[in-house]
Subunit: 202 residues, 2 copies
Amino acid sequence: MRTRQSGQRGPADHERRDQIIAAAIEHFGHYGYKKTTIADLADAIGLSKAYIYKFFESKKAIGEAICALQHDRMRVDLQTIIDDGKSASDRMRRIFHALARNTVALFSHERKLHDIVYSAVEEEWASAKHFTDALRDMVEQLIREGRDGGEFERKTPADETCNAIMLVLQSIYHPLLLEHHMDTLDDDAVTLANLVLRSLAL
Amino acid sequence: MRTRQSGQRGPADHERRDQIIAAAIEHFGHYGYKKTTIADLADAIGLSKAYIYKFFESKKAIGEAICALQHDRMRVDLQTIIDDGKSASDRMRRIFHALARNTVALFSHERKLHDIVYSAVEEEWASAKHFTDALRDMVEQLIREGRDGGEFERKTPADETCNAIMLVLQSIYHPLLLEHHMDTLDDDAVTLANLVLRSLAL
DNA sequence: CATGTGACCATATTGTCAATTGGTCACTAT
DNA sequence: ATAGTGACCAATTGACAATATGGTCACATG
Protein backbone atom coordinates (compact mmCIF):
# COMPACT_ATOMS: atom_id res chain seq x y z
CA MET A 1 0.00 0.00 0.00
CA ARG A 2 2.81 2.39 0.73
CA THR A 3 4.30 4.27 -2.21
CA ARG A 4 7.74 3.30 -3.39
CA GLN A 5 10.25 5.10 -1.23
CA SER A 6 13.07 7.07 -2.77
CA GLY A 7 16.42 5.37 -2.76
CA GLN A 8 14.95 1.90 -2.82
CA ARG A 9 15.15 -0.53 -5.70
CA GLY A 10 14.71 -4.18 -6.63
CA PRO A 11 11.72 -6.32 -5.65
CA ALA A 12 9.30 -4.10 -3.72
CA ASP A 13 7.79 -6.65 -1.40
CA HIS A 14 10.49 -8.99 -0.28
CA GLU A 15 11.43 -10.67 2.94
CA ARG A 16 15.05 -9.62 2.60
CA ARG A 17 14.06 -5.98 2.49
CA ASP A 18 12.23 -6.34 5.77
CA GLN A 19 15.16 -8.16 7.29
CA ILE A 20 17.49 -5.39 6.22
CA ILE A 21 15.23 -2.78 7.77
CA ALA A 22 14.87 -4.83 10.94
CA ALA A 23 18.64 -5.22 11.21
CA ALA A 24 19.07 -1.52 10.51
CA ILE A 25 16.68 -0.52 13.30
CA GLU A 26 18.55 -2.83 15.62
CA HIS A 27 22.03 -1.63 14.68
CA PHE A 28 21.32 2.04 14.01
CA GLY A 29 19.42 2.26 17.26
CA HIS A 30 22.16 0.54 19.20
CA TYR A 31 25.40 1.74 17.70
CA GLY A 32 24.26 4.77 15.73
CA TYR A 33 23.98 5.43 12.03
CA LYS A 34 27.57 6.30 11.35
CA LYS A 35 29.08 3.49 13.38
CA THR A 36 27.19 0.68 11.72
CA THR A 37 28.50 -0.43 8.38
CA ILE A 38 26.61 -2.08 5.59
CA ALA A 39 28.77 -5.12 6.24
CA ASP A 40 27.44 -5.23 9.82
CA LEU A 41 23.90 -5.41 8.53
CA ALA A 42 24.84 -8.03 5.97
CA ASP A 43 26.56 -10.16 8.61
CA ALA A 44 23.64 -9.86 10.99
CA ILE A 45 21.29 -11.26 8.36
CA GLY A 46 23.82 -13.63 6.89
CA LEU A 47 24.21 -12.16 3.42
CA SER A 48 26.96 -10.52 1.49
CA LYS A 49 26.79 -6.76 1.52
CA ALA A 50 26.55 -6.64 -2.27
CA TYR A 51 23.10 -8.15 -2.05
CA ILE A 52 21.87 -5.38 0.16
CA TYR A 53 22.42 -3.04 -2.74
CA LYS A 54 19.85 -4.98 -4.72
CA PHE A 55 17.28 -3.44 -2.37
CA PHE A 56 18.70 -0.05 -1.44
CA GLU A 57 20.64 2.37 -3.57
CA SER A 58 22.76 3.59 -0.70
CA LYS A 59 23.30 3.48 3.02
CA LYS A 60 21.45 6.75 3.32
CA ALA A 61 18.44 5.13 1.63
CA ILE A 62 18.31 2.62 4.47
CA GLY A 63 18.51 5.53 6.90
CA GLU A 64 15.62 7.18 5.09
CA ALA A 65 13.58 4.00 5.32
CA ILE A 66 13.88 3.71 9.07
CA CYS A 67 13.45 7.44 9.45
CA ALA A 68 10.22 7.13 7.51
CA LEU A 69 9.10 4.48 9.97
CA GLN A 70 9.61 6.89 12.86
CA HIS A 71 7.70 9.56 11.02
CA ASP A 72 4.94 7.11 10.21
CA ARG A 73 4.61 6.22 13.87
CA MET A 74 4.20 9.87 14.77
CA ARG A 75 1.86 10.46 11.87
CA VAL A 76 -0.41 7.63 12.97
CA ASP A 77 -0.40 8.92 16.52
CA LEU A 78 -1.45 12.35 15.33
CA GLN A 79 -4.00 10.98 12.90
CA THR A 80 -5.89 9.20 15.68
CA ILE A 81 -6.29 12.59 17.34
CA ILE A 82 -7.53 14.16 14.14
CA ASP A 83 -10.05 11.37 13.64
CA ASP A 84 -11.50 11.17 17.12
CA GLY A 85 -14.40 13.49 16.51
CA LYS A 86 -13.84 15.91 19.37
CA SER A 87 -14.04 19.67 18.78
CA ALA A 88 -11.49 21.26 16.46
CA SER A 89 -10.08 23.39 19.29
CA ASP A 90 -9.61 20.40 21.49
CA ARG A 91 -7.93 18.42 18.74
CA MET A 92 -5.70 21.34 17.84
CA ARG A 93 -4.56 21.58 21.43
CA ARG A 94 -3.88 17.86 21.56
CA ILE A 95 -1.98 17.93 18.29
CA PHE A 96 0.38 20.46 19.80
CA HIS A 97 0.78 18.36 22.88
CA ALA A 98 1.25 15.09 21.02
CA LEU A 99 3.84 16.61 18.75
CA ALA A 100 5.84 17.79 21.73
CA ARG A 101 5.47 14.47 23.50
CA ASN A 102 6.53 12.45 20.47
CA THR A 103 9.51 14.66 19.77
CA VAL A 104 10.78 14.53 23.31
CA ALA A 105 10.15 10.80 23.56
CA LEU A 106 12.11 10.03 20.44
CA PHE A 107 14.92 12.21 21.61
CA SER A 108 15.21 10.84 25.11
CA HIS A 109 14.41 7.16 24.62
CA GLU A 110 15.87 6.51 21.22
CA ARG A 111 18.61 9.05 20.98
CA LYS A 112 20.48 7.20 18.28
CA LEU A 113 17.41 7.02 16.06
CA HIS A 114 16.75 10.67 16.74
CA ASP A 115 20.13 11.49 15.25
CA ILE A 116 18.94 10.04 11.96
CA VAL A 117 15.74 12.06 12.06
CA TYR A 118 17.90 15.08 12.81
CA SER A 119 19.91 14.47 9.66
CA ALA A 120 16.72 13.91 7.71
CA VAL A 121 15.46 17.34 8.65
CA GLU A 122 18.77 19.12 8.26
CA GLU A 123 19.44 17.63 4.84
CA GLU A 124 15.82 17.73 3.76
CA TRP A 125 15.34 14.05 3.06
CA ALA A 126 12.10 12.96 1.42
CA SER A 127 10.78 11.37 4.62
CA ALA A 128 10.97 14.69 6.44
CA LYS A 129 9.04 16.41 3.69
CA HIS A 130 6.43 13.66 3.67
CA PHE A 131 5.92 14.15 7.36
CA THR A 132 5.48 17.90 7.18
CA ASP A 133 3.15 17.46 4.23
CA ALA A 134 1.05 15.03 6.24
CA LEU A 135 1.09 17.39 9.20
CA ARG A 136 0.01 20.27 7.00
CA ASP A 137 -2.90 18.19 5.69
CA MET A 138 -4.02 17.54 9.23
CA VAL A 139 -3.83 21.20 10.15
CA GLU A 140 -5.75 22.10 7.00
CA GLN A 141 -8.47 19.62 7.86
CA LEU A 142 -8.67 20.94 11.40
CA ILE A 143 -8.97 24.52 10.20
CA ARG A 144 -11.64 23.57 7.70
CA GLU A 145 -13.66 21.63 10.22
CA GLY A 146 -13.23 24.32 12.85
CA ARG A 147 -14.50 26.93 10.42
CA ASP A 148 -17.36 24.81 9.19
CA GLY A 149 -18.36 24.03 12.75
CA GLY A 150 -18.39 27.71 13.67
CA GLU A 151 -15.53 27.36 16.13
CA PHE A 152 -12.93 29.37 14.22
CA GLU A 153 -12.95 32.75 12.52
CA ARG A 154 -13.24 32.83 8.73
CA LYS A 155 -11.90 36.22 7.75
CA THR A 156 -8.28 35.22 7.30
CA PRO A 157 -7.51 33.23 4.15
CA ALA A 158 -7.39 29.59 5.19
CA ASP A 159 -3.99 28.94 3.68
CA GLU A 160 -2.42 31.87 5.46
CA THR A 161 -3.77 30.58 8.75
CA CYS A 162 -2.44 27.18 7.86
CA ASN A 163 1.01 28.51 6.96
CA ALA A 164 1.18 30.44 10.18
CA ILE A 165 0.27 27.45 12.29
CA MET A 166 2.82 25.29 10.51
CA LEU A 167 5.48 27.85 11.30
CA VAL A 168 4.47 27.85 14.93
CA LEU A 169 4.44 24.07 15.08
CA GLN A 170 7.91 24.07 13.69
CA SER A 171 9.36 25.42 16.89
CA ILE A 172 7.85 22.44 18.68
CA TYR A 173 8.86 19.58 16.46
CA HIS A 174 11.98 20.90 14.80
CA PRO A 175 14.87 18.67 15.89
CA LEU A 176 17.41 21.46 15.52
CA LEU A 177 15.77 23.43 18.31
CA LEU A 178 14.96 20.49 20.50
CA GLU A 179 18.13 20.22 22.50
CA HIS A 180 17.68 23.75 23.78
CA HIS A 181 14.07 23.47 25.00
CA MET A 182 13.71 19.83 25.97
CA ASP A 183 12.88 20.80 29.54
CA THR A 184 10.19 23.37 28.68
CA LEU A 185 8.84 21.84 25.50
CA ASP A 186 5.70 20.50 27.10
CA ASP A 187 4.79 23.87 28.59
CA ASP A 188 5.79 25.63 25.39
CA ALA A 189 3.40 23.45 23.43
CA VAL A 190 0.54 24.45 25.73
CA THR A 191 1.46 28.12 25.56
CA LEU A 192 1.68 28.07 21.78
CA ALA A 193 -1.54 26.11 21.40
CA ASN A 194 -3.29 28.73 23.50
CA LEU A 195 -1.89 31.52 21.35
CA VAL A 196 -2.98 29.80 18.17
CA LEU A 197 -6.45 29.16 19.52
CA ARG A 198 -6.81 32.80 20.55
CA SER A 199 -5.84 33.74 17.01
CA LEU A 200 -8.55 31.44 15.67
CA ALA A 201 -11.25 32.73 18.00
CA LEU A 202 -14.31 34.42 16.55
CA MET B 1 27.98 53.00 30.32
CA ARG B 2 27.82 49.41 29.23
CA THR B 3 28.07 46.77 31.92
CA ARG B 4 31.27 44.79 32.21
CA GLN B 5 31.04 41.94 29.75
CA SER B 6 31.76 38.42 30.82
CA GLY B 7 35.15 37.08 29.86
CA GLN B 8 36.78 40.49 29.87
CA ARG B 9 39.33 41.70 32.36
CA GLY B 10 41.98 44.37 32.98
CA PRO B 11 41.42 48.10 32.46
CA ALA B 12 37.82 48.56 31.34
CA ASP B 13 38.20 51.61 29.17
CA HIS B 14 41.39 51.27 27.24
CA GLU B 15 42.50 52.01 23.73
CA ARG B 16 44.09 48.59 23.35
CA ARG B 17 40.78 46.89 24.07
CA ASP B 18 39.15 48.81 21.26
CA GLN B 19 42.02 48.00 18.93
CA ILE B 20 41.70 44.33 19.73
CA ILE B 21 37.98 44.41 19.02
CA ALA B 22 38.54 46.33 15.80
CA ALA B 23 41.15 43.85 14.66
CA ALA B 24 38.85 40.99 15.64
CA ILE B 25 35.97 42.38 13.59
CA GLU B 26 38.33 42.74 10.67
CA HIS B 27 39.84 39.29 10.92
CA PHE B 28 36.84 37.30 12.11
CA GLY B 29 34.74 38.92 9.42
CA HIS B 30 37.29 38.21 6.73
CA TYR B 31 38.77 34.84 7.57
CA GLY B 32 36.25 33.50 10.08
CA TYR B 33 36.47 32.91 13.81
CA LYS B 34 38.24 29.59 13.71
CA LYS B 35 40.81 30.56 11.12
CA THR B 36 42.08 33.64 12.86
CA THR B 37 44.47 33.07 15.70
CA ILE B 38 45.15 35.28 18.66
CA ALA B 39 48.60 35.74 17.20
CA ASP B 40 47.02 37.15 14.02
CA LEU B 41 45.23 39.80 16.05
CA ALA B 42 48.35 40.57 18.02
CA ASP B 43 50.41 40.97 14.86
CA ALA B 44 47.79 43.18 13.24
CA ILE B 45 47.95 45.60 16.16
CA GLY B 46 51.65 45.15 16.77
CA LEU B 47 51.57 43.56 20.19
CA SER B 48 52.53 40.25 21.63
CA LYS B 49 49.66 37.87 22.06
CA ALA B 50 50.30 37.66 25.78
CA TYR B 51 49.19 41.24 26.17
CA ILE B 52 45.83 40.50 24.61
CA TYR B 53 45.14 38.25 27.55
CA LYS B 54 45.38 41.28 29.84
CA PHE B 55 42.07 42.36 28.32
CA PHE B 56 40.27 39.14 27.47
CA GLU B 57 40.22 35.87 29.35
CA SER B 58 39.99 33.78 26.20
CA LYS B 59 39.55 33.83 22.47
CA LYS B 60 35.91 33.03 22.98
CA ALA B 61 35.59 36.17 25.11
CA ILE B 62 36.71 38.23 22.12
CA GLY B 63 34.14 36.40 20.04
CA GLU B 64 31.51 37.24 22.62
CA ALA B 65 32.48 40.88 22.51
CA ILE B 66 32.03 41.21 18.79
CA CYS B 67 28.92 39.07 18.90
CA ALA B 68 27.57 41.47 21.51
CA LEU B 69 28.23 44.32 19.08
CA GLN B 70 26.11 42.62 16.44
CA HIS B 71 23.36 42.03 18.95
CA ASP B 72 23.61 45.63 20.11
CA ARG B 73 23.18 46.84 16.56
CA MET B 74 20.04 44.80 16.18
CA ARG B 75 18.80 45.82 19.60
CA VAL B 76 19.19 49.50 18.76
CA ASP B 77 17.40 48.99 15.47
CA LEU B 78 14.49 47.34 17.24
CA GLN B 79 14.44 49.88 20.03
CA THR B 80 13.89 52.76 17.62
CA ILE B 81 10.76 50.95 16.46
CA ILE B 82 9.56 50.48 20.02
CA ASP B 83 10.13 54.16 20.78
CA ASP B 84 8.54 55.72 17.74
CA GLY B 85 5.11 56.26 19.24
CA LYS B 86 3.04 54.49 16.62
CA SER B 87 0.31 52.05 17.64
CA ALA B 88 1.31 48.88 19.46
CA SER B 89 -0.03 46.70 16.63
CA ASP B 90 1.96 48.58 14.07
CA ARG B 91 5.12 48.39 16.11
CA MET B 92 4.61 44.69 16.77
CA ARG B 93 4.33 44.07 13.07
CA ARG B 94 7.45 46.08 12.37
CA ILE B 95 9.38 44.30 15.11
CA PHE B 96 8.68 41.01 13.36
CA HIS B 97 9.74 42.46 10.07
CA ALA B 98 12.88 44.11 11.40
CA LEU B 99 13.95 40.96 13.15
CA ALA B 100 13.65 39.00 9.93
CA ARG B 101 15.45 41.67 7.95
CA ASN B 102 18.32 41.93 10.41
CA THR B 103 18.75 38.19 10.63
CA VAL B 104 18.82 37.72 6.89
CA ALA B 105 21.11 40.70 6.39
CA LEU B 106 23.64 39.45 8.90
CA PHE B 107 23.56 36.04 7.31
CA SER B 108 23.93 37.12 3.72
CA HIS B 109 26.24 40.11 3.98
CA GLU B 110 28.45 39.12 6.86
CA ARG B 111 28.36 35.38 6.72
CA LYS B 112 31.53 34.95 8.72
CA LEU B 113 30.25 37.10 11.53
CA HIS B 114 26.99 35.22 11.43
CA ASP B 115 28.87 32.03 12.19
CA ILE B 116 29.95 33.54 15.48
CA VAL B 117 26.39 34.54 16.35
CA TYR B 118 25.39 31.01 15.45
CA SER B 119 27.86 29.62 17.95
CA ALA B 120 26.70 32.13 20.52
CA VAL B 121 23.15 30.84 20.28
CA GLU B 122 24.06 27.20 20.07
CA GLU B 123 26.37 27.35 23.05
CA GLU B 124 24.24 29.83 24.96
CA TRP B 125 26.81 32.57 25.35
CA ALA B 126 25.95 35.51 27.58
CA SER B 127 25.51 37.88 24.63
CA ALA B 128 22.77 35.71 23.18
CA LYS B 129 20.93 35.69 26.47
CA HIS B 130 21.28 39.45 26.79
CA PHE B 131 19.74 39.88 23.41
CA THR B 132 16.75 37.67 24.09
CA ASP B 133 16.30 39.38 27.44
CA ALA B 134 16.27 42.76 25.72
CA LEU B 135 13.86 41.46 23.12
CA ARG B 136 11.58 40.10 25.81
CA ASP B 137 11.57 43.49 27.53
CA MET B 138 10.49 45.12 24.29
CA VAL B 139 7.71 42.60 23.77
CA GLU B 140 6.57 43.09 27.35
CA GLN B 141 6.46 46.83 26.90
CA LEU B 142 4.52 46.48 23.66
CA ILE B 143 1.98 44.16 25.29
CA ARG B 144 1.58 46.52 28.23
CA GLU B 145 1.12 49.57 26.04
CA GLY B 146 -1.20 47.71 23.69
CA ARG B 147 -3.35 46.65 26.61
CA ASP B 148 -3.33 50.06 28.25
CA GLY B 149 -4.21 51.67 24.95
CA GLY B 150 -7.16 49.32 24.47
CA GLU B 151 -5.68 47.70 21.38
CA PHE B 152 -5.03 44.25 22.85
CA GLU B 153 -7.12 41.81 24.82
CA ARG B 154 -6.48 41.57 28.59
CA LYS B 155 -7.89 38.22 29.58
CA THR B 156 -4.74 36.18 29.06
CA PRO B 157 -2.04 36.62 31.70
CA ALA B 158 0.47 39.08 30.27
CA ASP B 159 3.46 36.87 30.88
CA GLU B 160 1.88 33.92 29.09
CA THR B 161 1.19 36.13 26.10
CA CYS B 162 4.74 37.33 26.27
CA ASN B 163 6.18 33.82 26.48
CA ALA B 164 4.12 32.72 23.54
CA ILE B 165 5.23 35.62 21.39
CA MET B 166 8.85 35.02 22.29
CA LEU B 167 8.48 31.42 21.18
CA VAL B 168 6.99 32.55 17.90
CA LEU B 169 9.72 35.13 17.35
CA GLN B 170 12.25 32.43 17.87
CA SER B 171 11.41 30.80 14.59
CA ILE B 172 12.23 34.10 12.91
CA TYR B 173 15.50 35.04 14.51
CA HIS B 174 16.90 31.69 15.51
CA PRO B 175 20.13 31.16 13.55
CA LEU B 176 19.77 27.39 13.62
CA LEU B 177 16.61 27.57 11.52
CA LEU B 178 17.76 30.36 9.27
CA GLU B 179 19.50 28.41 6.57
CA HIS B 180 16.33 26.51 5.80
CA HIS B 181 13.97 29.50 5.44
CA MET B 182 16.17 32.29 4.18
CA ASP B 183 14.08 32.63 1.04
CA THR B 184 10.71 32.78 2.78
CA LEU B 185 11.71 34.48 6.01
CA ASP B 186 10.31 37.86 5.05
CA ASP B 187 6.91 36.42 4.20
CA ASP B 188 7.01 34.17 7.23
CA ALA B 189 7.56 37.18 9.46
CA VAL B 190 4.46 38.85 8.03
CA THR B 191 2.39 35.69 8.36
CA LEU B 192 3.45 35.17 11.95
CA ALA B 193 2.93 38.81 12.87
CA ASN B 194 -0.60 38.55 11.54
CA LEU B 195 -1.23 35.44 13.57
CA VAL B 196 0.07 37.05 16.72
CA LEU B 197 -1.99 40.18 16.16
CA ARG B 198 -5.12 38.10 15.64
CA SER B 199 -4.38 36.39 18.94
CA LEU B 200 -4.09 39.79 20.62
CA ALA B 201 -7.31 41.14 19.15
CA LEU B 202 -10.16 42.13 21.45
C1' DC C 1 52.35 50.94 38.76
C1' DA C 2 51.01 50.55 33.95
C1' DT C 3 52.71 48.71 29.59
C1' DG C 4 54.56 45.01 27.60
C1' DT C 5 57.06 40.51 26.33
C1' DG C 6 59.59 35.79 25.53
C1' DA C 7 59.63 31.37 27.10
C1' DC C 8 56.86 27.75 28.28
C1' DC C 9 53.06 24.03 28.64
C1' DA C 10 48.90 21.48 27.56
C1' DT C 11 45.65 20.90 24.32
C1' DA C 12 43.81 21.30 19.46
C1' DT C 13 44.60 21.04 14.84
C1' DT C 14 46.65 19.30 10.75
C1' DG C 15 49.22 16.31 7.57
C1' DT C 16 50.16 11.74 6.35
C1' DC C 17 49.34 7.07 5.24
C1' DA C 18 47.32 2.59 5.79
C1' DA C 19 42.96 0.33 6.74
C1' DT C 20 38.04 0.50 6.25
C1' DT C 21 33.88 1.38 4.00
C1' DG C 22 30.36 2.59 0.54
C1' DG C 23 29.20 1.11 -3.74
C1' DT C 24 29.56 -1.53 -8.51
C1' DC C 25 29.97 -5.36 -11.56
C1' DA C 26 30.86 -9.46 -13.75
C1' DC C 27 29.79 -13.82 -12.69
C1' DT C 28 27.75 -18.37 -10.46
C1' DA C 29 23.89 -21.27 -9.07
C1' DT C 30 19.30 -22.73 -9.03
C1' DA D 1 14.38 -15.01 -14.23
C1' DT D 2 15.57 -14.84 -9.18
C1' DA D 3 18.90 -15.30 -5.40
C1' DG D 4 23.35 -14.48 -4.33
C1' DT D 5 28.52 -13.50 -4.13
C1' DG D 6 33.84 -12.40 -4.47
C1' DA D 7 36.73 -9.26 -6.36
C1' DC D 8 37.51 -4.77 -7.17
C1' DC D 9 37.77 0.57 -6.95
C1' DA D 10 37.31 5.26 -5.19
C1' DA D 11 36.32 7.76 -1.28
C1' DT D 12 36.27 7.96 3.76
C1' DT D 13 38.03 7.18 8.04
C1' DG D 14 41.30 5.99 12.02
C1' DA D 15 45.48 6.26 14.12
C1' DC D 16 49.35 8.80 15.07
C1' DA D 17 53.15 11.94 14.74
C1' DA D 18 54.25 16.81 13.74
C1' DT D 19 52.80 21.30 14.20
C1' DA D 20 50.20 25.16 15.61
C1' DT D 21 47.37 27.43 18.96
C1' DG D 22 45.23 28.97 23.25
C1' DG D 23 46.53 30.37 27.48
C1' DT D 24 49.82 31.42 31.74
C1' DC D 25 53.68 33.39 34.19
C1' DA D 26 57.76 35.31 35.66
C1' DC D 27 60.13 38.99 34.36
C1' DA D 28 61.63 43.56 31.88
C1' DT D 29 61.19 48.47 30.95
C1' DG D 30 60.00 53.37 31.70
